[in-house]
Symmetry: C2
Subunit: 451 residues, 2 copies
């Protein structure tokens, strides 16, 4: 075997896990085999066509060999938050005025936020408040060692747009689920697993018999049609549910075609799409900015009545602020090591330490609105654990942190909430940054557990 | 999609299957996804480390998109033959004198046959006739269009060597199955599926809990030990069953180490390994030579008593002769188009048409024993069907033939045959040669059905 066993063996002297290198070697091999046999794969970017054709140039997905412990208490807390967030998103997304106000400054410096707000306005004019609404979300958390709090990292609206929901409810077997995909998609195999599960009986004992189609935004623009009753058809097929695996990043909208496509999906059907912009992950950083700006304000604006619910949300928002708050800015200038500044636009690097102080002082002095382009976060110190990470067939030991994602499903009609519950979780292992913790500095090694 | 759909579309004018190109396109995509999610993979030789580490540089296994029909009548016939062959192999393998005589001329021109016969002699001296014997075989057939006969192509002794069978029977859960592997193995994923099935409950509802180890011949030589009671241990683990995925070809024995390893396995345990050389696929061509030479002779020598059984075997041996038979030689010189000559040693090409006549005339004239190096086969004309074949993500239509393999399991103790039955089948699609049929001319596209 040419696995990097020599490296594993060298770890013996400093391996805090104290695991026999021979056993690690066996774990490595078994994990690679398991991934190969069960579709835990990604396309290798070095292999031509691997992102366009399934079955070509595959490599195992990055995985962590050992699970990290995560206190059940916090997992329960995250589950409890799920229905509250779903309700909040439903309500916030219907308040166009609030959204426009909350994102007023961001809109001025961020073109894609501006376009999404425009789409949102158009949708609200259709007055869909009375209709059936459905939402699938995932809220991500980390456990902060300093405060011992479970802090929200971001809220992902996985499938915020629901076209033809009437058809979903009454005759889903005729309609299809549409996955919005990248032109080139190396991370396609988990998508196919989902499609396969929706379609097949194997390995499950029940049959959904739901068909999936896969379309890029440009293809949806070319093939999509909005029928008079609001039904969305793409390539002649009625679409019941749209699952966004592309369309989050501004780079996914290189031309007007993609924006038309987005508008078409959002406007489609008699069902109001739940598109709560501030909580959407259109871009990881702007999402956080949105959350930060909205988190407290949302509650101030009393979208929720239940005081217990409000207190629960506040708790997991700890340490998120926009640069509107002068108290926080002054504190960060004094104690920059406790903060991180994240630019809203992609491409820029996060700002740490003394650079936080300098940047804030410069922004303050200039008095421009450039500060709207940043979000300000408390430095999170998640629990760091040693683990073995596998990537490209090579095992290395590293310091890692865990990110917990809780899925939620929400469905209501005009009168009643029919479903509002947490519906599964995702625990991801990420490499801890060289900056000793912090929510910002993780390498993108999106490992998952083998359990 | 950049699949070769343009090519598929061009087929429309001459597609004898008359399948809508859009449907073919969908079949192509679904087949690629299915292969990816279910481990129907091989290592891509163009990707470094792909043959050494699982999970690296994978590509879907070549597959045929459509099944060819195969008459059930012939399938039943092949199943009926399975236990007769198993019994025959058991008996022939115990008759050292017959084997030495039958392969006397081959031995002189083929070093690896010679070495295997030597090993066989040593084994027989241990006098294991009275012991428990077990065999797993696969007999391959094609349906000949001219004669309407099911003809045997070859008989594979999949796992002919059984070490520590006492332990297999009484306490298999403590012992392991050892897979003999190539140093570099690109076709490893079906092996892992088997190991996974032996170990896991998933996706099956019962547990075998049998552990598999994987060793090259050289590793077995280095780590193997024969205990006084005949038990084989490799790396300290007791081996119950040896599954040969390497060791068939003379090239698998580059040094004395590999031969020592083979001898060790064959000699191990109190159980006589069922190693019936003439039926072993040590090398595809020599195997056929062995069969050819033995096929009729075996029966002449009356290894079987039952006349019905003898008649059944004879029927599927049609058209296999060694060059000992002067009548056949004379017929082939007159009608060379009905024959193919296959050299016993690798590297040579099969001989067709007028070359058959010329070669036979030369051999006759020279009067050397070089003719022992050839086997002489009736040209088989299997049913040719059009199909869609997938390789490296590209779909192409081709003319194909089917090869049916019937597995069989055989177990007996000193008094009784405990198991002797067919146990599954394998239907493979192969590309028909440009020479219009024939058992010899298939490209190595070892496709399997998706059903």
């Amino acid at each position: 075997m040419s696995l990097n066993y020599s490296k594993v063996k060298h770890m013996k002297t400093y391996d805090p896990l104290g695991i026999d290198p021979e056993l690690v070697q066996k774990l490595v091999y078994d994990a690679l085999v398991w991934s190969s046999l069960h579709g835990l794969l990604v396309g290798d970017r070095n292999v031509q066509r691997s992102g366009k054709i399934p079955g070509m140039g595959m490599v195992h997905a990055p995985v962590a060999l050992l699970p990290m412990s995560f206190p059940e208490h916090y997992w329960r807390q995250a589950c409890e938050l799920a229905p509250i967030f779903s309700e909040l998103i439903d309500r916030v997304s219907l308040d166009g005025k609030f959204l426009q106000d909350a994102l007023f400054r961001t809109k001025k410096v961020d073109d894609s936020t501006s376009r999404l707000l425009d789409i949102h306005s158009k949708m609200l004019k259709i007055n869909k408040e009375e209709e059936i609404r459905l939402g699938l979300h995932r809220s991500d958390y980390m456990l902060d060692e300093q405060t011992k709090l479970l802090l929200q990292i971001e809220l992902n609206t996985i499938s915020s747009s629901f076209a033809g929901l009437g058809c979903l409810v009454s005759e889903l077997h005729r309609a299809v689920v549409m996955v919005v995909i990248q032109t080139e998609e190396h991370n396609m195999y988990d998508q196919h697993w989902l499609s396969s599960t929706l379609k097949d009986t194997y390995p499950f004992q029940f049959t959904h018999n739901v068909t999936t189609i896969r379309k890029t935004l440009a293809e949806i623009d070319a093939e999509g049609q909005l029928l008079p009753d609001g039904t969305l058809t793409v390539g002649g097929q009625t679409v019941a549910v749209v699952y966004f695996r592309a369309g989050y990043a501004p780079t996914d909208y290189p031309s007007e075609s993609e924006w038309r496509s987005r508008l078409l999906m959002e406007q489609s059907s008699a069902v109001v799409p739940i598109n709560c912009l501030p909580f959407s992950r259109h871009q990881e950083d702007s999402a956080r900015a949105g959350e930060a700006k909205c988190a407290s304000e949302v509650i101030v604006h009393l979208f929720l009545e239940n005081k217990e619910d409000i207190a629960k949300l506040r708790k997991c928002f700890a340490g998120l602020w926009s640069l509107d708050d002068s108290n926080i800015i002054n504190d960060a200038i004094e104690r920059p090591q406790l903060y991180v500044m994240k630019p809203q636009r992609g491409g820029g690097n996060d700002i740490y330490g003394d650079d936080v102080r300098e940047t804030l002082q410069r922004l303050k002095k200039e008095g421009t609105e450039e500060d709207a382009a940043y979000i300000h976060m408390q430095w999170i110190f998640p629990t760091v654990s040693p683990t073995f990470l596998m990537q490209d067939g090579i095992c290395h030991q590293d310091r890692s942190i865990s990110e917990l994602g809780i899925y939620s499903a929400y469905l209501r009609n005009r009168e009643n909430v029919i479903i509002n519950e947490h519906s599964g979780y995702l625990m991801r292992t990420k490499v801890a940054s060289s900056n000793e913790g912090g929510a910002a500095g993780f390498a993108v090694l999106d490992s998952i557990y083998l359990t």
